[in-house]
Assembly symmetry: C2
């Protein structure tokens, strides 16, 4: 058995998320179906980040086992022919037998983009959350700083019974360019809706709806109902995975 | 009679161009229909650049006459509510009685973006021409320089019987950023398919298909058949209009 790694980008707009679901169009469904067509064999993939419906990926990583020889670049081209323009397979390669796209990942980095410009950018409507108001970037930066560290992020998670929401956030910072605010966050892993909840909370503080200087208390409260806004998925992008 | 100016952006992907055509979905059609709904009156607009099907605009300008008072910011909001996410009305304002978006324009600036990266960017597939090969940017820059000046651009125009193809190109230059090549061109006006033909020709030179150093002769020949490639419309954007 050999293990292969696929690096891919996708526009999540037209998918019900990454993970396969019966009767839904998903990235995993389209990718595995293309793999099965080319390899003439059933294939199950592991993935670094199970992105939600409408979330994009610049740097998603997938792995799968296959019993046989694969000409990697040829597979890359065949997959790109089959998966359509919404998915781009950037590379395919054989990796160590111990590699698993999900369990070998040491960290994930996400980017979130929102716009404070008064009007929408029609060409970017799938990738930007247009908030149509001004925000206090300095207080949002302070919120970002408070996220950094090892915390129980239950307040920011759609929790799964019996699963820990403790995560180690290594970076969480805002930058600004021409009215576009970018939030970059890196963690060992993320619970469900975590980035969108972090952004939603920072946005609520930035617009003066939630109290400033309160972030650590909101984290410590471990109370999901304290988060009033979950940012829409279109602004979110799984940017990079570290192994 | 008062004259009003509208500044707008649009994603041209879903339109059969700017100019109204019977039975086709066009930007002008959608915009005039929205104007007529709000103003309860028939409206005819003039436009700075009649973009082709699939061509985008960041800085399109439209004007119209109206016999009555308009609360400009309210009209802007109403239009944005009616035209959908593909069109963004950035501003509406009353202008001098002599203003005409088409005839008052002194220059237009277009941007064209192509990518030499080995794989597509799915999020940008509507706005980038992915050429999937490396290009010689230095020779493309030389081609751009040769376009500058007052020339008969018949070789680069889908000509209209009896209309001159003489244009004054003030700027035509290429820049590069992370494998994305941007062509910026400014002229008093453009004949049909001119920018896409200029880009197609530069691309043919850049990939070694057309001869280098020949640009002035190709212009002087005034022969459309010398241009073998018209770049696809998705990479083109009407960026700015000067008055």
């Amino acid at each position: 058995m050999a293990i292969y790694r696929i690096d891919l980008s996708y526009d999540g707009s037209g998918f019900q998320g990454y993970a396969k679901q019966d009767g839904e169009r998903t990235v995993q469904g389209v990718l595995e179906s293309a793999l099965e067509t080319v390899l003439r064999s059933s294939v199950t993939t592991a993935v670094a980040g199970r992105t939600d419906a409408g979330v994009h990926a610049y740097g998603q990583v997938v792995s799968f086992e296959f019993d046989g020889d694969i000409e990697a670049n040829r597979l890359r081209k065949s997959l790109n022919g089959l998966t359509g323009q919404e998915i781009a397979v950037k590379s395919v390669g054989r990796v160590a037998d111990t590699f698993n796209a999900r369990f070998s990942a040491k960290w994930r980095r996400y980017r979130y983009v929102l716009s404070t410009q008064p009007t929408d950018d029609p060409l970017m409507r799938h990738v930007i959350w247009h908030v149509h108001r001004s925000l206090d970037l300095d207080v949002m930066k302070a919120v970002g700083e408070a996220f950094v560290g090892r915390h129980d992020f239950t307040s920011f998670c759609r929790s799964v019974e019996g699963k820990s929401n403790v995560r180690v956030v290594e970076e969480a910072h805002w930058s600004e360019r021409e009215g576009l605010y970018e939030f970059w966050v890196k963690s060992n892993s993320f619970c469900q809706q975590m980035v969108r909840s972090l952004v939603g909370y920072a946005y609520d503080v930035g617009r003066g709806f939630a109290e400033q200087g309160n972030t650590s208390e909101v984290i410590e409260a471990r109370n999901r109902s304290l988060i009033k806004t979950v940012a829409p998925s279109r602004g979110l992008n799984l940017w990079e995975v570290g192994y």
